[in-house]
């Protein structure tokens, strides 16, 4: 079962509708640096 009532997935124009909000996205991160999320070192 995928739907309660018959309904087809809507398609929209392939264009940017949202974005350009990197500062907002990073606002709640525990550790950031220069526009990036920071995690413990992965590669030695």
């Amino acid at each position: 079962m995928t739907r309660v009532a018959a309904m087809t997935m809507k398609m929209r124009k392939d264009e940017v509708t949202d974005g350009f909000c990197a500062a907002h996205i990073l606002e709640n991160a525990p550790q950031v640096d220069d526009g990036y999320f920071v995690v413990p070192k992965i590669v030695e």
Partner: protein, 495 residues
């Protein structure tokens, strides 16, 4: 004059329009009630008085100009699962400590667009996983209702326990809630309030912290059927940001409330007469049947043969989706981070410290049923059962317009009474999960008091996108059951 906090939304709207009181006065009365009650009830995890007064003043300005939306100046509480821009939203989990959304959920944005006032964020079970509001990281909510002659603290139901308790205790005029397996209807039933989970897709899920995406749906809890209709009308919308939201016009729900039940046929599902059902639940159900008959509805027994598989398959589908949704909490992008020597141990430490026991249990179950060796045996099988449950309802709705059942197997239980045994807790949802599995609308209406003097509810189940019939039938039950008695105020500092 009636206390401002005792008014229904419908009455308050009229009072505001007639300038009998201002939106600021109405909001202040509620803020005062919260201030006096929250220490005892723990319904609000974040009161937002400054924001409330700011919004109330804006409403007064609009009302003065003769403008204003459907909920202009009406103070509401918001379940902590709804993202509110600039106000901490944690789903009552330690892992979302301090998360302050930079965006607003579609449902709450719709409410603000209609002029509603935010009083604060309401408590709930952690990630909405629970039936008693005891899994919240902020501690349990206490039901404003008490058993006759007892001071024992009762649970307000869950997961929307803050919403149900706040509405019942007059700490808001209505509240948003969410329902994945019964989390609107079960708390409404045990607090003597009205709660409706609309059809899956009726309200946008965008900006609501996800539990099980194919089951989650937002809806209101209020003190009357009419208020629930007014609130749902404002909450529902088509939303391009949620592809599962439906592009159907939102009907005028409030207009359907008084239409009566003459000519409607209401089904009574045989399989809901579970063995060991409490006699008072059985007699309440019969009372509901009699009320509807007396109001002109036809009653017909129907069969939903796959009902007994609903709860077991729900506890496969819901944890499966939860384990997938909750994978995002890894300490990188938001919320809690616990240090680790490398990235894997940082993830592990964060998740070990951040999630509570019930959430961990469901992540474990979900991960298990989705694992390569068990996917077909559990998850796929549960999906098939789900289709059968939906088919049962489709067949029943060929001959009936709505279905009447009890909402819960019993009245509110005491804090700690069932928290030791997860299976016993899960059984609270036995009458409500089928509705989520089938995606149908379901509403709980207060129908009387138990032998303990605490509220009991009846559940109405409707055809997809036919919430209007539920409001019609619900109003008849509400009228027949008589005016809601209020819980005796023991919780405010003044009392």
């Amino acid at each position: 004059m009636t206390k401002l906090t005792d008014l229904t939304i419908a009455e308050a709207r009229q009072g505001l329009r007639e300038k009998s009181f201002s939106a600021r006065e109405l909001t202040e009365a509620h803020l005062e009630a919260i201030e006096g009650a929250n220490a005892a009830l723990n319904a609000y995890v974040l009161p937002t008085p400054e924001r409330a007064l700011e919004m109330a003043d804006a409403s007064d300005a609009r009302l003065k100009r003769g403008e204003g939306g459907a909920l202009e100046g009406i103070p509401l509480g918001i379940k902590d699962l709804f993202c509110t821009k600039g106000f901490r939203t944690t789903a009552c989990s330690h892992i979302l400590d301090g998360f302050t959304p930079t965006y607003e959920s579609t449902v709450t944005a719709n409410l603000w667009a209609e002029g509603a006032v935010m009083l604060g964020k309401l408590n709930n079970d952690e990630f909405a996983m629970g039936s008693s509001n005891e899994t919240s990281v902020y501690g349990p909510v206490v039901n404003p209702w008490r058993r006759k002659g007892s001071n024992a603290k009762l649970v307000p139901g869950g997961s929307s326990g803050g919403s149900s308790a706040a509405v019942a205790a007059r700490l808001c005029m209505g509240a948003t809630a969410t329902d994945t397996g019964g989390s609107i209807r079960q708390p409404a039933a045990v607090t003597g309030t009205v709660g409706i989970k609309p059809t899956y897709g009726r309200c946008s899920r965008w900006g609501i912290v996800a539990f099980a995406s194919s089951l989650d749906q937002a809806g209101p809890i209020a003190r009357s059927v009419e208020d629930a209709a007014i609130l749902l009308g404002a909450m529902a919308s088509h939303d391009p940001k949620d592809t599962t939201s439906v592009d159907l016009p939102v009907p005028d729900y409030a207009a359907s409330v008084g239409q009566g039940v003459k000519g409607l046929t209401v089904g009574i599902p045989r399989e809901y007469r579970v063995p060991g059902m409490a006699p008072e639940i059985e007699s309440l159900w019969q009372k509901g049947v009699d009320w509807l008959k007396a109001a002109g509805a036809k009653i017909k027994e129907v069969s939903l043969p796959h009902t007994k598989y609903a709860l077991p398959s729900y506890y496969i589908v819901a944890p499966a989706e939860a384990s997938s949704n909750l994978a995002r909490y890894d300490g990188v992008r938001y919320g809690l981070r616990e240090k680790g020597s490398d990235v894997i141990s940082m993830y592990e430490n964060t998740r070990a410290a951040g999630f509570g026991a019930e959430v961990k249990r469901r992540i474990l179950i979900g991960t298990y049923v989705l694992s390569a060796g068990y996917y077909d045996a559990y998850y796929l099988k549960a999906q098939k059962v789900r289709t059968l449950i939906k088919r049962d309802f489709d067949q029943a709705f060929e001959t009936v317009d709505a279905i009447l059942t009890p909402t819960t197997p019993g009245p509110a239980f005491a804090l700690g009474e069932k928290s030791g045994d997860p299976l016993e807790m899960y059984l609270n949802d036995i009458f409500t999960v089928t509705v989520n599995m089938a995606g149908l609308p379901g509403m709980s209406v207060p129908a009387g008091l138990s032998s303990e003097g605490t509220p009991l509810g009846l559940q109405l189940i409707g055809k997809p996108f036919d919430e209007e019939t539920l409001f019609r039938v619900g109003r008849v039950i509400e009228q027949a059951a008589g005016p809601l008695t209020k819980p005796q105020d023991w919780w405010s500092k003044a009392a």
